[in-house]
Symmetry: C2
Subunit: 335 residues, 2 copies
């Protein structure tokens, strides 16, 4: 009996060693592109812009409205609600750790955070500004932004390019390290429950990590068909194939239902699930992934173990100060 | 010449002394009612609730959406935008220093911040929740709120009463002291420009402070007809009389077009102006007040001086941390 215990311990240790090499922790800093090095002035300006509803036509929708930095980095809605109560067809991806996505948007059509930040502002359904010229004109009418842009970029610096650079610089600070998973991988074996460790092993054994790999569990820029395996029962309920994904942009039939592999970091906090937010619970999302991606009918125990593990990917949110947005003394923003 | 200068100095001093006794500075703390003493646990919970869009039916509108704590405590819109892009007929009053209003809402229909906080959540146009029972059920489904309410109020404490108490406790911390005006009244004569001092004197001489009196320039609970003096020209443009004010609640014709005197603190930051937000600039608002409340055709110089002074009522916003809202792991808020 004693011998068996030792063997078990030895196996656990061996397993841990192999896990430690296979499983990656989240970096606490995100690399910035050469053309937009991160500075505290940019981050401060970016935080202001990110939370400023005056970047929308109605003055009611900021980046944070759909990618909420007080929550899981999105809005827990199937489809986000933009200006005038409009909704689109996709579910807002989390902003947390988006710095570790190689490409942005569900269909990966933006090659950088900078490029992503330019999109929603002038999307008619999202923030509804007619043009970036209008955004720049509005920002220029706010004295406090003149000052903040000058600090970050130099004189007369209010432009689309610099606004999106500042937002991206801020987003690169939105990292959630020290999840139970990270602590476990770093050696704190008490950080995960036994069930979570089982779930972690099943993620690998069943093939989940074939796509959801790397520190952010996002395959580092990988794309994948979803659903891989046709399933009329799910399709009738969730309409996964209605949105053609990458093909909506590329117009190439080969790209139909192709999607960026999304991060699993903080996945427990970002229900509802999938590109169209059609699935309300993580349990159901895992069951569906088993069926349509792996061709496996996961047992209730498998699902429970994997969900327990996915909950261990919720990290620590950085402490943030509330930005103070510059006013427009004596007048409104849209004069 | 020297003598004249001395006389001028003597007059200025005399004037300052008399001003110092007549003009009040903003208290840095707001008194709490006996039934809701302020505690840090309540304030922390209240800040979370105040910024939580899940207090609305769509999950998109929080108290802060219309009463923005990153800006002048409101939204710089004529009429706020609630759930599903709906708008009402009144302009959101600022939350800053609302602790110093004797009554709340434009028509003063709430006798306390606690009573006020209960209103918008179940207003169909604003936050759209069907009932406070639904709000309480939703809050109870969020484990982190169970913990935060327990800290603030004790075991099993999630209720409408406690939610509104926490929000009110938080709002009592939203005070903006140390405006240039306050510094001036406290003896720092360089805190106001000469034009601002002229504007301050005109506020008193012309009769503005007849209503806009006290530390918050809100007449400490006073009501007043607006407009007092019929003006067809303005009425045709701004429709001030369409909304009957207190009479909409009391159904008493004597209360028609009666309104709570609003604070002038941070007034420069809360354009557009008046109960229906119909007037875009502070200059125009001051000109209109002269005409329809005081029966005076203010000169351009008078208006410029008064507006300069009103800009000196913008205070210091307290540093706030960004709240971290509790999540609903594995599911959405409205399941």
């Amino acid at each position: 009996m004693l011998k068996f215990k030792s063997l078990a311990t030895a196996l656990t240790l061996a397993c841990s060693v192999s896990l430690a090499s296979a499983w990656e922790t989240l970096p606490t800093e995100a690399p910035a592109p050469a053309e937009n090095p991160t500075t505290s002035e940019k981050v401060e300006l970016g935080q202001m812009l990110y939370h400023d509803p005056r970047l929308s036509s109605t003055g009611t929708v900021s980046c944070a409205s759909c990618h909420n930095t007080m929550l899981g980095g999105e809005d827990n809605r199937a489809n986000s609600m933009g200006v005038n109560g409009q909704t689109g067809g996709r579910s807002a991806p989390t902003v947390w750790n988006s710095a570790f996505n190689k490409v942005q948007f569900w269909d990966g059509r933006a090659a950088s955070l900078e490029a992503q930040a330019a999109g929603p502002v002038t999307n008619a359904i999202e923030m509804g500004m007619k043009s970036w010229d209008d955004v720049v004109a509005r920002l220029k009418s706010i004295d406090g932004y003149q000052v903040a842009f000058e600090k970050a970029f130099g004189k007369d610096a209010i432009s689309k390019d610099n606004a999106t650079k500042a937002i991206a610089a801020y987003e690169r600070t939105l990292i959630t390290p020290n999840s139970p998973y990270d602590k476990y991988v770093e050696g704190d074996k008490a950080a995960l429950t036994l069930q979570q460790v089982r779930g972690m092993e099943k993620m690998s054994d069943l093939g989940c990590t074939g796509c959801h790999s790397g520190a952010a569990f996002n395959g580092a820029g990988m794309f994948q068909k979803f659903p891989m395996i046709a399933n009329g029962y799910f399709e009738a309920q969730y309409h996964f194939k209605k949105d053609k994904g990458v093909a909506e942009v590329s117009k190439n039939p080969a790209d139909e239902n192709l999607w960026k592999v999304p991060t699993l970091r903080n996945i427990a906090l970002t229900a509802p699930y999938f590109h169209n937010g059609s699935v309300k619970t993580l349990d159901q999302a895992v069951a569906i992934m088993g069926q349509v991606q792996l061709g496996k009918d996961l047992s209730k125990a498998d699902i429970a173990d994997i969900v327990a593990f996915l909950n261990a990917l919720s990290g620590e949110f950085p402490k943030q100060k509330m930005p103070v947005l510059p006013g427009t003394p004596g007048t409104t923003f849209n004069n």
